[in-house]
């Protein structure tokens, strides 16, 4: 039980035994507890996926290394990708959405609290099922996008890929039900006065994002079911030796897979939009622009999947069409970057750890975005696709975009969730170590790609410059590992003896900072009148209210 104490900081009931607390979590339908469970789940899987990454970088540190054999390496790189995308990025973002959205719109809970609990647990068990494959004869070993016909029983004998299908189907059910829940919550549970035009941008992005989830996941679920039929019941969808189609899998996967990239970046865009405003102490620049460009990205997301397949030989006409649509994505994304810069311009910038991650994101994501444009230029794509240049690109987008967003959110909302501040000094150490390690690891991989190193190789021969670049890249990975340990220590220490946060430590603008930290079970005793996009600002500055 969480109780409100006099000074607004809350304390856990000291008399409740551990077993009772755990039982409470297991049976909870409170959006805040479920949100935190999502975040803990993401953290656990982040530790596992990160360890896998370190194993890979250890194997690749020197030429002709035999630390891991091909069998182990292929399982580990597959699991690293699947884990980070489906069981780290998505649960972390869902956790933040589920925790923050009801508070931001002045609601007491999600629209369907029990469905919310169901979504979490089915996602969690999906992850457990996936990892059970290690004990059941071998993990999936055909990469996270699991191309046919390598994913068929003839080429992948172990049960790993069956577990991949089942695990992702379960997690997919969780994602779809969460998306339904978020859409209904946002559309029906807003406090009076909060029109769609006054929604905080994080909520806007989450809304658009949930529609993306609803539209994209069915394609993956269909592909996974077909593959299971192939593997378990001898169907022939992707079995090329029996006339099945290898490209069908690629189309079905990327019709899901490309929107998926936006599914894990849009909520992060929402986070940055809040963080930039609060730590510049200034309204967002181009609210309508950002919201509209998000809708544009979501729609375009379904018309660009073939840019993952430029090299499969579809002919110049089809390829040209998808080149154009992929390049168009660059425009709304570029608009966003400039909007955030313009938000900072003229403000009073406070470089907290949260803001540091947001600023670093601007630069890292620009690098990742530009290398992304390179892949929409077909002739350049034909050179660089499936090399380490792609590995560098997607980590700039996933880490520099999504993961930095999650870190920014963690430092921003931790005081609300726990009632205590995360330590800023330790946080800055963490920030600098992580950013340096990240750039060391992945910036160099651009050059490896340019030197012809293909991705997903378990070893490489002595080719000039390969060893030194790979070695430095591995060193960067270890620096990120150390930084992550520092973050864990910071969370642990701050939970015990961090500074008491109070309701509104950042002088923020949105409703979640109106209530106690952490909020009581009902979230709000009362909600101030919403008459603009910054309800809390209006409440705190009654003489200087926003004009809608």
């Amino acid at each position: 039980m969480i109780e409100q104490s006099e000074n607004n900081a809350t304390v856990q009931d000291p008399y409740q035994p551990w077993s009772g607390r755990i039982l409470q979590c297991l049976s909870s339908v409170d959006h805040k507890e479920i949100g935190i469970m999502y975040l803990i789940m993401a953290l656990l899987f982040f530790a596992v996926g990160g360890t896998e990454a370190l194993l890979m970088r250890t194997q690749l540190a020197i030429a002709d290394n035999h630390f891991l054999g091909p069998e182990a390496y292929n399982q580990i790189f597959t699991m690293h990708g699947v884990t980070m995308i489906f069981f780290v990025a998505m649960p972390a973002l869902f956790g933040l959405m589920v925790y923050i959205i009801p508070l931001m719109i002045g609601a007491n809970d999600m629209a369907f609290p029990r469905l919310n609990a169901f979504s979490f647990w089915i996602t969690f068990f999906g992850g457990q099922l996936l990892y059970f494959s290690f004990a059941a004869g071998g993990a999936p070993n055909a990469g996270w996008f699991n191309y046919a016909p390598l994913n068929e029983t003839f080429y992948s004998h172990s049960n790993g890929i069956n577990y991949y299908c089942m695990g992702l189907l379960l997690a997919g059910i969780g994602s779809v039900t969460t998306a339904v829940n978020i859409v209904v919550t946002i559309l029906t549970m807003r406090v009076e006065g909060m029109t769609l035009r006054r929604l905080p941008l994080f909520v806007w992005m989450s809304l658009v994002n949930s529609f993306l989830v609803l539209a994209a996941l069915p394609s993956l679920n269909a592909a996974l079911s077909m593959l299971l039929l192939d593997r378990l019941l001898d169907a022939h969808f992707f079995r090329t030796a029996a006339g099945g189609s290898a490209l069908l899998w690629q189309h079905l996967f990327w019709v899901f897979g490309h929107p998926e990239v936006y599914i894990v970046i849009l909520p992060a865009f929402g986070i940055y939009s809040e963080v930039f405003q609060v730590f510049s102490q200034k309204k967002i620049f181009g609210y309508a622009f950002i919201a509209a460009s998000t809708v544009a990205i979501a729609l375009l997301a379904f018309g660009v999947w073939v840019h993952h397949m430029f090299a499969v030989g579809l002919g110049n006409t089809i390829t040209g069409f998808f080149a154009a649509s992929s390049m168009l994505i660059g425009i709304p994304t570029g608009v966003k970057i400039f909007s955030w810069l313009a938000t900072m311009y003229g403000g009073r910038i406070k470089l907290t750890v949260s803001m540091l991650f947001a600023v670093a994101f601007l630069i890292e994501f620009t690098i990742g975005g530009l290398s992304g444009i390179a892949f929409s230029i077909v002739p350049i794509d034909l050179q660089l696709t499936d090399t380490y240049f792609v590995v560098a690109h997607m980590h700039y987008v996933f880490v520099g975009g999504t993961v930095f967003g999650i870190f920014a959110a963690l430092f921003y909302w931790f005081p609300k969730m726990s009632g205590r501040m995360l330590d800023e000094t330790l946080g800055k150490w963490f920030f600098w170590l992580f950013v340096i390690g990240f750039n060391l690891t992945f910036f160099l991989q651009h050059f490896l790609g340019l030197m012809g190193m293909a991705r997903r190789v378990y070893t490489y021969p002595e080719i000039p410059y390969y060893t030194i670049l790979n070695m430095l890249s591995s060193a960067g990975a270890y620096i990120m590992g150390i930084a992550t340990l520092l973050l864990l220590y910071n969370v642990y220490r701050s939970l015990k003896k961090g500074k008491i946060a109070g309701n509104d430590p950042w002088n923020a603008f949105t409703l979640e900072w109106y209530t106690a930290s952490p909020p009581n079970e009902k979230n709000f005793d009362d909600v101030p009148l919403v008459s603009s996009r910054r309800a809390l600002w209006d409440f705190k500055n009654p003489d200087n209210r926003d004009e809608d």
């Binding site: 091909p70 069998e71 191309y147 390598l150 080429y155 090329t240 290898a246 102490q281 620049f285 181009g286 622009f289 397949m309 090299a311 499969v312 030989g313 110049n316 390829t319 040209g320 080149a323 154009a324 660059g330 425009i331 570029g334 970057i337 400039f338 909007s339 810069l341 313009a342 900072m344 311009y345 003229g346 403000g347 009073r348 910038i349 600023v359 601007l362 630069i363 620009t366 530009l370 290398s371 444009i373 390179a374 230029i377 077909v378 002739p379 350049i380 034909l382 050179q383 499936d386 340019l450 030197m451 012809g452 293909a454 997903r456 190789v457 070893t459 021969p461 002595e462 080719i463 000039p464």
Partner: protein, 320 residues
């Protein structure tokens, strides 16, 4: 045991020289590298712009330095925000389309100059007249070639970085690639679509020669192994141990097509798709324990005695 074998293998990688996709060794690579250069300039400028603006804002508007007044940039800013990316995108779309048409025209009904078949984890090259070669692919420099790419099993990808574009190789689909090599020389590449256990050791070696040199090689490579009245022990073993079920030696009873053609294996510089140097020691290691040398390869361990291995290696080395 495992570790010891690997340790021995450490020094057998062939020497692969420094490669860099910005060295254009084919006409196609030249065209691609032109766009790449323009793109680097445009992207570098954009990156510098964003970094520059960010640093400027951070220096000028820190809480400690900024006054109390907030500055709201005017709506006028929205226009360049939209126009700059749009123009850049339009320019590069134009470059993309024109270059694609240049480097990748329709094959029409032209007969391919070579058919390359990708296998888990080696390359087969078939020249007109059913002349077979494996792993080391000879091509004439200085003229436009049409490569036909097919796969025997899963999806693979043909990529020699200095030749520019890559091409996936998809089951049940014929893919074509145009290639005009500029200079004779040796070029290295690798399969770049993940294709299973030994994806890392599915390397490509292209030997580009003058037309005359290529013709001589093709003629020689097309010849069957010389008939041998007094069969060596190695040859007897080769036939008796069913090697010929998977491997072909032109002119003998060995007619398998699952594994690489061995008619002229003695004349190749590398073994196992570019994994090691072709010498007797490495050949013997491979025959002794294929699954330790290249785990996952389809070559079974025949549990041969040391003297049989020696004889077989001698025989294979003699196939020049």
């Amino acid at each position: 045991m495992n570790w010891l074998l690997f340790a021995k293998l450490k020094n057998i990688s062939p020497n692969i020289p420094y490669q860099n996709i910005l060295h254009s060794s084919s006409r196609q690579a030249e065209e691609i590298n032109h766009i790449e250069l323009y793109f680097c300039i445009a992207a570098g400028t954009m990156l510098l712009l964003v970094v520059g603006i960010t640093i400027y804002i951070l220096l000028r508007f820190r809480e400690s330095k900024a006054g109390d007044k907030r500055i709201i940039p005017g709506k006028i800013w929205e226009l360049p925000m939209l126009i700059i990316p749009t123009v850049l995108v339009a320019v590069f779309f134009y470059f993309s389309i024109t270059t694609m048409a240049h480097i990748n025209p329709d094959a029409d009904s032209r007969t391919p100059d070579v058919v390359i078949t990708a296998h888990q984890w080696w390359w087969q090259a078939t020249y007109p007249g059913s002349i077979e070669a494996a792993n080391e692919i000879h091509l004439p420099a200085g003229k436009p070639l049409l490569l036909k790419l097919v796969t025997a099993d899963v999806v693979h990808d043909w990529w020699v970085p200095q030749f520019g574009n890559k091409m996936d190789i998809i089951p049940l689909q014929d893919n074509y690639l145009w290639l005009t090599i500029k200079e004779p020389g040796e070029y290295y590449g690798t399969c770049s679509e993940f294709c299973g256990l030994q994806h890392a050791n599915m390397r490509i070696k292209v030997i580009a020669e003058t037309q005359a040199g290529f013709d001589t090689w093709l003629h020689k490579n097309g010849q069957a192994a010389p008939p041998n009245k007094n069969k060596t022990i190695g040859e007897e073993l080769f036939m008796a141990k069913t090697c010929g079920d998977c491997h072909r030696i032109n002119g003998t009873a060995a007619k398998g097509t699952t594994g690489p053609d061995l008619t002229h294996i003695g004349s190749r510089a590398t073994l196992l798709a570019g994994m090691s140097i072709n010498d007797k020691d490495n050949l013997k290691r491979w025959l002794k324990s294929p699954q330790h040398v290249k785990p996952g390869a389809y070559m079974p361990d025949f549990l041969l005695s040391d003297s049989s291995i020696n004889d077989l290696a001698d025989y294979l080395q003699s196939l020049k």
